[in-house]
Structures are given as structure tokens and as C-alpha cells.
């Protein structure tokens, strides 16, 4: 049901893919912006190529531009697909049954392919190969660089999956050979290799979850309190704390960008910056409305309250082109001061500054500092980051990628419920994943929720072939 973020993004991609499917190169060349939307992440399966030890050369003797390698087959006609569709029982890892191992790995490969949008990748690589062969390609070096980089990334993903498939088939062949020749040592070794592959495959499944555009970026997390006064502002502060400790647990750097405290307690709204690899890839799973049910400590009548907080996540694009260029002429700088001749005539300590960016109407105010100069500098920094966020959202939209900002989140889009009374439970309404220990979740133990959501969102999406 609810995997709105990703299904929409996937759908957008599918649409842009379909639009290009006829794929004459001219069309590919035309709108560079649209093409850049298709730039895949480098990080689909980053470790696979290194961790695969033996690479039989014969499967890749064909030129690398030929993306679709022939599917590996065993002597008796087994392929990865056929193994997956045989419906062999998958036993626990400890059981030494080659069919069980093989079936588990084949299922993983199927899942990984789905998460990587395999059909789309193959088609796209084919198109890019055609573009790469154009003789006039390097007349536009920037474009050529983009194309060849994307091509390289996609080829990396394809190769690494193909190698994994190849490995599986080889192990099965080895095992059969060992049995035919009654080589117990080889049989044990091959069985061990298969079990290793099975464990490896689980890791690859996870990595494939974070293969979306911008997934590897740092991000902003914004939390805004819903209606309901102090109780809901307190909840917003709890949610913000949850993300801060989650981010710290993951080893990310957290900085507070902006904080608007509530009158009595909590926050009306706050923004933090989370710096680190894949911060956006994980945090994007948290976009939406979070609901709390508890006995409010701010209610002298000890009644049960329900409050809401909205969470937005915005990627910080790596390249400087996303920084918004502010023109001085677009700014109106307001100083709160009385009229009159000013200068030596007046003594004032009023130093508050408000800067308005006229084209967007976005403004920033600062009055913490005692000099106008310093207040202006602080207000400019805030304004810059607000405009950057806007620019990021605009570029993301231009890239046909879906980014949600706070104003787009409808308060009806509830993603998770935290109940502290009358029972204790945290339940994700999108995946139905739940735990009975709200405290640990509120202390930042969010990874299970995030991974569950990411996998369900990608795996249910109709994007495979």
C-alpha cells in the first residue's frame, strides 16, 4: 500500500524509460537534464566485484559493451532462473543440502535483480552503448563524460550480478563432479562455498536496496509539530531526538541548522543536517507523519493524547551546481530602526536584521547578535540554506525524481504509530512491522523499520521487467 515515495519515483523512472525505449540516439542526446535523471548510482553492488574471487574469463570474453551476457548453464541444463522456479525447499543454512542452498541463492539473485530494476538496466545500457559509439560524442565532453560514467556504473552492476550467477552455476557443477568421482573433500568444499554464497547473497540484497539516485548523499531532516500545542511540540522534539541518536549510531555527523523552540517545551520546527554515506538512502524511508499516543505529561488531568509530527528529508546533492546563487539585487535587507537623520544623531542598540529574497519571498531573520553586521551574516547563512533546499527540491523535480518537502506532506499520510498507553508498541503502517519496545525505537533503534520499509517498497514495486 503506502510506499508512496518509492513507487512514485519508480513509476517516474519507468515512464521516462518507456518514453525513451524506442531509443534512437538523437532522442537520448536531446534533453540533457532528462538524461541526467537516469544517471544511476555508482553504488548498487559496490563490493561484489572484489569479493568474487574466481572470474571465469570465458563468460566475459565478448566485448564489455555487450551488456547481456549469455545466461550460464550447467551441463544438465540448469540456469539460475530455472533453479529459482523449481520451488526447491529452502532449509536452514546449517543443513547441508545443495538444492536448498542453490535455491536460496537463486531467489536472492532474483530479488537483487528486481531491486536493481534489471530489465531497465539492460535496456539502458544498450542505449548508452549506442551513444558511446557515435563518432561525434566527444565534441561535447561534459555530456560524453556523463554518458560514459553512467555506462560504466551500469556495467559494473550487471557484471557483478552476472559473476554471482556464474559462480553459483560453477559451484553446482563442481559439486556434481565431486559426487560423480566420489571426491569427498571436493564435495565438502563445494558445499561450503555454496553456503558462503548464501550468506553473501543476503548482504547483496541489502546493498541493492540503496541503489537509487541520491541514495548515497547526505541529507537534511526536518521535523514539524502538528496541531495540539505543547504536547505536540514535545513530540516533535522527541522525534528529532530519535533521528539525532539514530544518525549518531550510524556514525553520521549531525548539525542543527535551525530550531524554533516551543513556548513551553519542545520545538515547533527544526532542521538538522545529517552528513555521511547513504544518509539520504536510509532517511528517506522516514518521510511522513508520525503519530504518538500517550498520557500527556503536560495535561494536569492525566488524559490520553494523540499528537502528530511531520518529517521531511531532503538530499544534499554532491555537486556545487545545486548551491543557489543569490544575487545582491534580489535581496531586501530590513533593519528595524526608526527614521530620522541617523548617523551621529542617533544612539540605538537595535540590531535585528531581516533579509527577504524577493523572487522567492523566502526570508530569514536574526536578532541574537549585538551588531547589525553579525546579524546580517547569520541571517544570510540561514537564507542561503533555505534557498539551497529549495534549489535541491527544484532540481530533484527536474530530474523526475520525487522529493517530498514538508508542505507536500499531507497530514493524512501517516507512516508510523507510537503507542505508549494503554499498551506499548511501535507499528509501521506501511509494512505492518511492529515492535513492543517504544523506548528503544525512540532512542534511535530505527534500522529494522527502515530496512523493512525499503525492501517492501522496492520489492512490491512493479518495476522488474
Amino acid at each position: 500500500m503506502a510506499c508512496r515515495l518509492l513507487t512514485r519515483s519508480a513509476a517516474a523512472r519507468l515512464v521516462s524509460h518507456l518514453r525513451r525505449t524506442p531509443g534512437p540516439t538523437q532522442r537520448l542526446l536531446a534533453p540533457r537534464a532528462a538524461l541526467s535523471s537516469l544517471l544511476g548510482s555508482t553504488d548498487g553492488l559496490p563490493h561484489a566485484a572484489d569479493s568474487t574471487l574466481r572470474v571465469p574469463a570465458r563468460w566475459f570474453s565478448s566485448p564489455s559493451t555487450d551488456a547481456v551476457a549469455e545466461a550460464p548453464v550447467t551441463a544438465d541444463g540448469l540456469t539460475v532462473d530455472s533453479i529459482a522456479s523449481k520451488g526447491w525447499t529452502i532449509l536452514p543454512e546449517a543443513e547441508s543440502d545443495w538444492r536448498s542452498h542453490a535455491a536460496a541463492v537463486a531467489q536472492s539473485i532474483k530479488l537483487i535483480k528486481k531491486r536493481l530494476k534489471w530489465g531497465w538496466i539492460l535496456e539502458r545500457t544498450k542505449q548508452l552503448s549506442v551513444v558511446l559509439e557515435r563518432p561525434d560524442l566527444w565534441e561535447d565532453p561534459v555530456f560524453a563524460g556523463m554518458v560514459s560514467r553512467e555506462h560504466g556504473e551500469l556495467m559494473g552492476k550487471i557484471k557483478s550480478v552476472n559473476q554471482f550467477e556464474q559462480e553459483l552455476i560453477e559451484h553446482i557443477e563442481m559439486l556434481r563432479l565431486a559426487r560423480e568421482e566420489n571426491d569427498n573433500e571436493l564435495e565438502t568444499e563445494s558445499m561450503g562455498d555454496l553456503a558462503d554464497m548464501r550468506r553473501n547473497a543476503k548482504e547483496k540484497e541489502l546493498n541493492a536496496l540503496l541503489s537509487g539516485d541520491n541514495d548515497s548523499c547526505s541529507c537534511f531532516i526536518e521535523v514539524q509539530a502538528g496541531a495540539g500545542g505543547t504536547e505536540s511540540m514535545d513530540w516533535a522534539a522527541m522525534v528529532m531526538n530519535m533521528y539525532r541518536s539514530w544518525a549518531q549510531r550510524r556514525g553520521y555527523t549531525v548539525t542543527v541548522v535551525e530550531e524554533m523552540p516551543g513556548e513551553v517545551a519542545g520545538i515547533k520546527r527544526a532542521t538538522i543536517k545529517v552528513d555521511g554515506e547513504y544518509a539520504f538512502g536510509y532517511a528517506k524511508a522516514e518521510v511522513g507523519v508520525h503519530r504518538l499516543v500517550r498520557i500527556s505529561p503536560f495535561d494536569s488531568g492525566k488524559r490520553r493524547h494523540t499528537s502528530f509530527s511531520a518529517v521531511a528529508v531532503i538530499p544534499i546533492l554532491g555537486d556545487a551546481s545545486s548551491r543557489y546563487q543569490i544575487k545582491d539585487s534580489d535581496l531586501r535587507i530590513e533593519r528595524f530602526r526608526s527614521g530620522g537623520p541617523g548617523g551621529q544623531h542617533a544612539n540605538t542598540t537595535e540590531s535585528a536584521i531581516r533579509i527577504v529574497h524577493i523572487p522567492t519571498g523566502i526570508s530569514a531573520t536574526c536578532q541574537n547578535e549585538r551588531s547589525q553586521h553579525m546579524n546580517k551574516a547569520s541571517a544570510m547563512a540561514v537564507l542561503q540554506s533555505r534557498l539551497d533546499q529549495l534549489e535541491i527540491a527544484r532540481q530533484a523535480q527536474m530530474n523526475a525524481e520525487h522529493t517530498q518537502s514538508l508542505n507536500e506532506i499531507s497530514w493524512g499520510n501517516q507512516i508510523r504509530s507510537y503507542v505508549l498507553h494503554p499498551y506499548r508498541m511501535v507499528k509501521d503502517l506501511r509494512t505492518n512491522y511492529e515492535v513492543s519496545d517504544p523506548d528503544s525505537v525512540l532512542e534511535g533503534d530505527l534500522d529494522d523499520f527502515i530496512l523493512n520499509y525499503l525492501s517492501s517498497a522496492l520489492d512490491e514495486a512493479d518495476v522488474s521487467k
Binding site: R335, G342, G343, Q344, H345, T348, T349, E350, R370, S371
Partner: protein, 352 residues
Amino acid sequence: MAMLAFSSNAFLRPNPPGPHLRRLLLPKPLSSAAALTPPTPQADPTGGSNPDPDPTPLFLRPASHRVPAAALAAFRLRAAALVPPSAPHLRRHLRWLLADAAANDPASGSDPALLRASLDDLEALWLRHVRGRRPFQYVVGNEHWRDLVVAVREGVLIPRPETEAVVDIVKRVEGFEDGWWADLGTGSGAIAVAVARELGAAGRVFATDVSEVALEVARLNVQRYGVQDKVEIRHGSWFEPLEDVKGKLMGVISNPPYIPNVDLPGLQPEVGWHEPKLALDGGKDGLEHLLHLCEGLSSVLKPGGFFVFETNGDKQSEFLVDLISTKWSSFRNVEAVLDFADIKRFVTGYRR
């Protein structure tokens, strides 16, 4: 109220000395800042000639007073009770006064609090601010100006927010980093220090003032920001101390007294009653010193040199722009520059 009326009269009674007399007076070292300060309207327990027993700015005094948190809180309440609803800015001042007085973060709520003045002293300071309209900057002994905390005290003009722009104007001059600059009538030294912090290895600022008090404060500020090797402080009126660098200056900066003397009696009490008349009184039409500065410019500036003066605003600036570009042919690009309130506050130009 009667006191107030009396004091305004008292301020008017001694006629301001005529321009000629003033100019004769200027180069002489002044024995006391108070001679130039209009009498404070209220009886001052410490005596008018010595308005502050300890001239060290509050924020630089040693933190030697342990005050129980409860007593500090009581003081805060007492002081806040003196703030009339018509003067909400005093709440901000009280917060800043306590911030400057505290040696540790006031928010930490440590008990006892470590203060730079006794509660009695703070109370006296606060009363003189609220009742005597002594400028807040003199009370705490500083003004936050640009990114600096400039020490000030009675006898020195409090740097104005408008003047912050002078430094930005200087920074726009090509190659300013390595030039020699003069800040004439430096006062607290705010401009000189701020410009010096932007200069390169070869850059220098000659900061002159006729007032000994001003030089003392300027020296303190230069030291606090560690720009002694960039700023040379010289005693004397306008160009007088600059004989040896004539024709070598890349730029001349000045925020001279420019208030027309007829406007002096109507000034805001914080300014008229407390700030040095020497730094405010521009004589007839407020132009006396500005004209003197314009006349001396071409002899001290090197060819291509730059000047920026702060003025009383629109009419004065327009007059000066017109005068400089028509009377002398030796200047180019003479223009009036707006301040943040869109008043033509500055006059700038280049020597040919």
C-alpha cells in the same frame, strides 16, 4: 522633569565657541574628556568631572565578585521593574548588561555566580542608564560593531551601525590590502582596527585624533585585536600628524563631526548629554571639518588614491560631491553612497 529642563538650558547657556576659536583650541591636548561632555542632567553621586570611577570597560574587569544566584535573581527582578513599558529595548539592555557582567555563561545558573562587578555597582550603572539616559554602550563599556567588540567610554564617540559600511567601501578599492591608509579622527579606533584586520603584509593604517581620551581607547582596541604592527596611532588634529607620509597614502577615511551646530540642542539625550561634542559638532551647516578635510586631501593622497567620508546625509553629501568635482579638477568618480536607510551617507572618490 524640572531638572531636565534646567539641564537643557544649562547646555545651551555657554555659547559654543566660534569656528576660529575652536580651531585654535583643537590641537591642544585636552585635560579632561568631561570638559567636552555636556553636563549630565541629574545629580551624579560620583561627581561630574569623573563620571565613572573605574574606566575599565565592564567586560574587561576581573571576575572577582561571587554573588549568590538568589541575590542575582533578585537584582534582575528589581532592575526589570524599572523598565517602563514604553522602553522595551531596556529589557534587551538588562540581558546584555548581565551577560557582560557574568564571567561564566549566565544560562548555566551556577551558584554563586561569578561577576565582574558587585551588585551595588551594577545597580548604580543600571540606574544611571535608565534614569540618567547614559548610553548603554558607556554603561557596559563596549559596542558590538561589525564582528568586533569595541571598547568605548565617556569622551569617545560610540561607533554607529551606519559606519560599519565604511569598511566594506574600503574593501572594494582595488589593491587596498597593501596600501597605506589614514583614519582621521579615529575616536575609539573602530574603523582603523576593522580595516587593519583586512590588510595584507604591506598595509598600514595611521589613526589620528586630537583627543587624548580617544587615543587611549583606540590603543586599547588596537591591542585587544592584536593589530599593533598594522595601526600606528598619532596624536593631532586631522592632517597635522601626517607630514611625513604626504603624497604616499592610498586612502583617507574619516567620520568627522558633521552635525550642524544649530541641531545640537535637539539631539537625543543619550547623544547630546553624554557623547563628546568634539566628535559631533560640525560647526556651521556641519561642514566645517568636512571642508577642511576636502582641502587637505590632494596633498596627502598619492595619485589614484581613494577617500571616503561619512556625512550628515543627503544634502551635505550632494553639496560635497558637487563641490569636490567642480572646485578641484584633481578628483574623479566622486559620488555619494547610500547607507542601509537609503540616506546618502558617504562621499567617496579618487584622486587623479
